[in-house]
């Protein structure tokens, strides 16, 4: 999870919580977001709420995975005194809160790739934050209007599929490995790197290896199926392979107390892979896109972080196997013998999207996909599009010219872009104001005489991308504010509509209670429906852009 705590991300997070859970809960979150981590007492002091109310707020926030708690590591205690208990500290998880905007997309993805019953489970988890398996069962039964026993098998199977695909994980418990990992990573920021070769460096390396192993264990723990579901997994596996097993499930020891929650990282990983494959499809050729898909499929199980920069090295035999399973699932795939030439084509592309790592023991080539580079390209294209739409096609030309040629003077820019000097100057200063380009003075004389200094224009690509990322979040806040305002201003009409629908659906409506709308009101209703639809759709699109710019 990234630390994207810009002012606008914080505001968006608070706005989202306020809409969903109300002012009181939002006040607690506000403290955590703007003032960092708090213990329970500190929160009580900052918000002024009585402990019971505060406890409820925190419970709500934790239930929906907006706030996490962990025990803070204390300094080694004095051996003479009794060590005080480690205080529990609460921290707001802004990224996860912003992910709430993308719930519809998650549901659509699961429905398309898995099925309707998985979608129902996912919806339950998204609505309620964390649920036990019996609660899931209740929800599904109520939704599908079935008997609980009837639905049990389906729910078990659907949950198993979701957990195996890593879309759903166990909610971490206090004191578990995941919590410790979080706490130690929080406290480890700011340690200096030791000199290579020294004893300290060796110790640091050993630490790093231990941490990696710990992280791998934590990942395994997150997706560990309880024993009863393991049996289900076996059955599902057999069924997938075509064998029909009619064995009933045994009553193994049920871990019924496990809380399950959605894992947005996995969704983002899949979407990121899809974007990468799309880019390679366009840039090289569709067959290359299929090969990349296979590489990413193999590498997926080994990715530890949410945002890996590179995939693991994959050999072409592994690619062929993955390609076969892709073909089974109905995704675009190519024949096994074409894998090697297409892979070579991919590796020879000048943008270094896939690089050759080395050779395996039998001469097979190992390839590694540079996810970061691919995502950087996608983001750069978005920035170029934004520059073109906002400042004009000439500005886009100048921007691209500077990204290709690194640094130029104003006169050279005008010449190469074939634009009049006056226009070039204006565009450059507008871009400078919006922080898409930078200007540097290179003085020839000691007194920085303007006649004798070079003024050099540059594009700092990471900075431009970051600028746009912040703007996207800010724009989302604005659009939501506008939507709230529009809904507010037509409140009376909407209230009337609610009354009308309530009256219509109530079976015993007396004629005196019938509510009808005048023509003007109907028109207003039409207007507000249209406006709400447009704004909500734009918000969903913007949330996708937020993901693109903040998920690295």
């Amino acid at each position: 999870m990234l630390e994207s705590a810009t002012v606008w991300s914080q505001k968006l997070a608070c706005d989202l919580i306020k809409d969903q859970f109300g002012d009181i809960v939002e006040k607690v979150l506000n403290c955590l977001v703007y003032k960092g981590k708090h213990t329970f007492h500190e929160l009580g002091r900052s918000t002024g709420f009585p402990p019971a109310q505060l406890k409820n707020c925190i419970l709500v926030l934790m239930q929906h995975n907006c706030v996490e708690a962990y025990k803070e590591d204390q300094a080694p205690p004095d051996p003479n005194k009794v060590a005080p208990p480690a205080p529990i500290v609460y921290v707001a998880v802004i990224d996860r809160i912003i992910q709430r905007l993308r719930h519809p997309r998650f549901m659509v993805h699961v429905r398309e790739t898995m099925g309707e019953r998985e979608e129902i489970i996912l919806q339950a988890l998204l609505e309620h934050g964390r649920l036990r398996i019996d609660q899931l069962l209740e929800y599904t039964a109520a939704r599908e209007e079935r008997d609980m026993d009837d639905a049990r098998v389906d729910v078990d199977e659907a949950l198993t599929e979701l957990v195996q695909a890593h879309y759903v994980e166990r909610a971490p418990l206090m004191g578990s490995a995941a919590m410790q990992a979080h706490a130690s990573s929080a406290s480890k920021r700011g340690t200096r790197t030791a000199r290579p070769g020294s004893a300290a460096a060796a110790a640091a390396e050993a630490e790093a290896a231990k941490e990696l192993a710990q992280q791998a264990r934590a990942v395994q723990e997150r997706f560990r199926l309880p024993a009863n579901l393991k049996a289900v997994a076996v059955v599902l596996g057999k069924r997938r392979r075509g064998e029909d097993s009619g064995e009933p499930l045994q009553g193994l020891d049920m871990e019924r107390d496990v809380l399950w929650r959605v894992n947005p990282d996995e969704f983002n990983r899949r979407f990121r892979h899809m974007l990468c494959v799309q880019l390679v499809n366009k840039k090289v050729e569709p067959a290359a896109g299929a090969v990349l898909n296979a590489i990413l499929r193999v590498s997926r199980e080994h990715e530890l972080h949410a945002a890996e920069e590179r995939s693991v090295p994959v050999s072409d035999s592994e690619i062929r196997t993955a390609m076969a399973s892709l073909a089974e699932e109905g995704e675009p795939a190519i024949a096994a013998e074409n894998v090697s030439p297409v892979l070579r084509l991919l590796m020879s592309d000048t943008s270094e999207l896939v690089s050759r790592i080395g050779e395996g023991p039998d001469g097979a080539v190992n390839a590694c996909a540079n996810l970061k580079r691919i995502m950087d390209l996608v983001r750069l294209k978005e920035v170029e599009g934004a520059v073109r739409d906002r400042f004009g096609a000439s500005a886009c030309r100048i921007f691209r010219l500077l990204t290709i040629k690194r640094q130029l003077e104003q006169k050279q820019i005008a010449e190469m872009a074939m634009l009049p000097v006056k226009d070039t100057r204006e565009i450059l200063y507008r871009l400078l104001k919006a922080h898409f380009v930078t200007l540097q003075e290179v003085a020839q004389t000691a007194d920085h005489n303007p006649q004798r200094t070079f003024y050099v224009w540059r594009v700092d690509i990471p900075k431009a991308v970051a600028t746009l990322g912040v703007e996207v979040v800010r724009a989302t806040c604005h659009v939501r504010a506008r939507l709230a305002h529009e809904l507010d201003s037509e409140k009376e009409v909407l209230d009337l509509l609610e009354q009308a629908t309530a009256a219509a659906s109530a079976p015993t409506a007396s004629s005196g209670q019938r509510v009808s709308l005048t023509a003007a009101q109907r028109q207003k209703l039409e207007y507000i429906r249209r406006v709400a639809a447009i704004l909500e759709m734009r918000i969903v699109h913007l949330s996708e852009l937020i993901f693109l710019f903040h998920a690295s």
Binding site: K381, G385, R388, C396, I398, I404, A417, E471, L542
Partner: protein, 290 residues
Amino acid sequence: MATSATHLEEAILEICRANPDGLQDEDLEKELVGVPVSDRVVAINGLLTKRRMELFQLGDKLVYKEVKEENVIKLKGCTQEDLLVYQLIKNASTTGIWTKDLRNKSNLSQVQMSKVLKILEMRKLIKAVKSVASKNRKVYMLYELEPSKELTGGAWYTEQEFDAEFIQVLRDHCLKFVMHKGRVTLEELCDFVSCTGMSKVELRPDDVLQVVNTLVFDGQVDAIEEPSLDHDEDVFYVPATLEIPSRGSLTSVPCGVCPVFRECKEGGLISPTTCAYYNAWLSPAADLSW
């Protein structure tokens, strides 16, 4: 005495003719052995006054050159100032020299300058040329010379104005050609441009390269470099593979293209709730295709 002086002058002129690249003073002395210095000086002065010989300075040495017949006639009847101005303008060759610079170098007054320039122009020795870089300046150069590229702006300027339309037409044609062919080199493009005869001025490969580069910078054409046998690298132009997205999610809302985006905040003078751009965008009559 006059005859011997004329003889001496002729002799000096002959020696000069023998050294068309210039005769140094020392060499002249060596050739004219037995001639006293005073006589030589008188003869040289005579030649210089009659404009049959020119004097240059090469480092700290003096060099003499004979003036050609036609030039002598051309410059006949000119005063010292005229000649001075003429020489300064000649030194500027194709770049030309500005009136103010001319005045500084010659130390003449404004009135004198204008008179001299008028005389020279009338005699068709110099001409005034307008520069594209600074439209208010008058730049003078010799009559027979062509103004250099910086002054006229090259092929892209017709009558001192930047010819944007012409460039746009060229770009469109080149783009269509690249799209059609799929993979072209610079030479093929040059041939295409000259064949279709789109431009009145002849376009050199550099000019075509400039045009194609603007297409690359616009993201419509990609330049691919590949090693080749003849040169170190061959550059091919292909239609762009990664296009810039047409209407991103950010720019589909007014915020994405708002000029006052950074001043906007809730409760402020400019806010999302009172935004005029939103009012226009959400109004029932608006076209929401963007």
